[in-house]
């Protein structure tokens, strides 16, 4: 009995160490990025790497002068915010409709919407590029807003659908018996009830829009560029501006980590579009 117990103890210690190593492995790369961002460029280029150095914040200041990084941040913010609100609005209506109204082929319609989410972006980017070019929308935030908003609809519909399903329809039904219209039931009763779900969905679509690269790369030029595209601009023929690129990278990812922390509870649900709770 005694040996069995101590064996178990040793096993637990080993497992705890492995768990710790896993988390170190996950955190090490972003930590390296952060360390590079607070090094002077000469220190960042030194080999072997210097581990002890005077941290500086000037890289973070300088990126705003080297390139119009402020504009790019603003572009990303505008595009992600507007496309998120539009996707939430249209998506929540559709999700509500699909869960509450019984009609033929409603299931097929849901799955048709889901299947759009699966199309490879590189397949739709060519025609969308040509269409945006025809309407002279290239290099404008509008092009990205339209693209992101549309491609976030299927995600929003599916995730919100799973939230609407969790609230009992009886509440709305009894209100409708009292003469409340579907529209009122939606805006006054159902929507407030899924407010946390709505927030989680919004955070996810915001993260997707903020992180998106391919559409931003192709649909924007110098004016409407977003942060991910601007980041690749630090890779130049003359070499990579490591410490500045690292600082910009930290600024790009920090808000996303914060947002992820906010959706903790719905993380798995969001990442699988409601397939797994």
């Amino acid at each position: 009995m005694y040996t069995h117990r101590s064996k178990k103890k040793i096993l637990n210690v080993i497992l705890a160490i492995i768990t710790m190593l896993v988390f170190i492995y996950i955190l090490f790369p972003p930590i390296m990025l952060f360390l590079t961002s607070i090094k002077k460029n000469v220190d960042a280029l030194r080999y072997p790497p210097v581990w002890i150095f005077r941290p500086i914040g000037s890289n973070y200041r300088e990126i705003f002068n080297l390139i119009p990084f402020g504009n790019y941040l603003l572009n990303s913010l505008i595009v992600a915010t507007i496309s998120t609100f539009l996707a939430l609005f249209i998506g929540s209506m559709a999700a509500y409709g699909l869960t509450r109204f019984r009609f033929r082929r409603s299931k097929d319609l849901s799955f048709w919407i889901l299947s759009i989410r699966m199309t490879p972006p590189v397949a739709s980017i060519i025609p969308i590029f040509i269409i945006m070019r025809t309407f002279k929308l290239l290099d404008s935030p509008a092009a990205l807003i339209i693209a992101y908003f549309t491609f976030n609809i299927p995600f929003a519909v599916w995730l919100l659908r799973s939230f609407f399903r969790e609230i009992p329809r009886e509440i709305e039904e009894s209100a409708m018996v009292d003469g409340c219209s579907s529209y009122n039931a939606f805006f006054r009763i159902a929507l407030p009830l899924i407010a946390p779900g709505l927030a989680a969905t919004g955070i996810f679509t915001f993260i997707f829009s903020w992180n998106e690269f391919l559409f931003a790369l192709i649909l924007t030029g110098t004016r409407a560029q977003t942060v991910p595209v601007a980041l690749t601009g630090f890779i130049r023929e003359t070499g990579i501006m490591w410490s500045h690129m690292a600082a910009a990278g930290v600024l790009a990812m920090a808000p996303m980590i914060l947002f992820t922390a906010l959706v903790q509870k719905n993380l798995v649900k969001g990442l699988t579009m409601g397939a797994i709770k």
Binding site: V22, P49, M93, A94, T119, A123, G249, Q264, I276
Partner: protein
Amino acid sequence: MVFKNLEKIAPIVFIGPAVIILLFIVIFPMIYSIGISLSEWNLIRGGNWKFVGLRNYYYTFFQDPDFYTSLRVTLIYVTAVVGLELLIGLGIALLLNRSIKKIGILRTILVVPTTMTPVVVGIIWRLLYNPELGTLNYFLELFGFKKLNWLGDPNLALPSVIMADIWEWTPFMALILLAGLQSLPREPFEASIVDGASSFQMFRFISFPLLLPTLIVALLLRVMDAFKTFDLIFVLTKGGPGLITELLSFYTYKYGFKFFHMGRASALSYILFLILFVITQFFLKYYRAGEE
């Protein structure tokens, strides 16, 4: 009266806008794209579309050796990343399920790689892989090994990109599988303890079969995303050296927006679309079975 009519058309008012927008911004362009794929049209040289029938497809399948290289690279890449991410992810999920009671804040740390900007993931790994000043080479030298040219060596480039992808996506797998493990019913485990089952037997005959639906959803989601990998390639290797890391999505992008050969790029994108369409059907079928 008006109120009554509005109520009658409520389903259309609710669902209509989403459907119309999707039709206009996704489906219509996809159809338009069929037209482009059947034409010869170079964006730079200008001029009009010239209808060439299936020539772009013919070229891709029978005259373009690079297409098969790219297809092979893509298949190797997808198989390798998804397979390894599933295995390692399952390992991590089992580990966390056993050793950690409440996951809480650790969950946020776990998905940092997955929710951070993919371009930044690329930048980080480029920094780590840098042959002159990268941390990985520093550690190699520290332990007495020779420096490696991670992204420049033809034998190493693909495994290096795969390694970055694994870092980015394994936590995603682990998190989903962990959620699956934690939602398993307790009774079968209690019963099997009474029957004296070993922990391997418990995994093999209870956890694994019960976890299978979750596992398949995670697997299919990951396969679909892996086929679309673009950002990582763009930042790390641009498909090089040679065509060693040229995934289909990047190859298509190159035809369209480097060579501006829109016809061929559209044909390529349709081939990629069809591959994904088949996988998507599996996913939807499975998902649907779970819903009903």
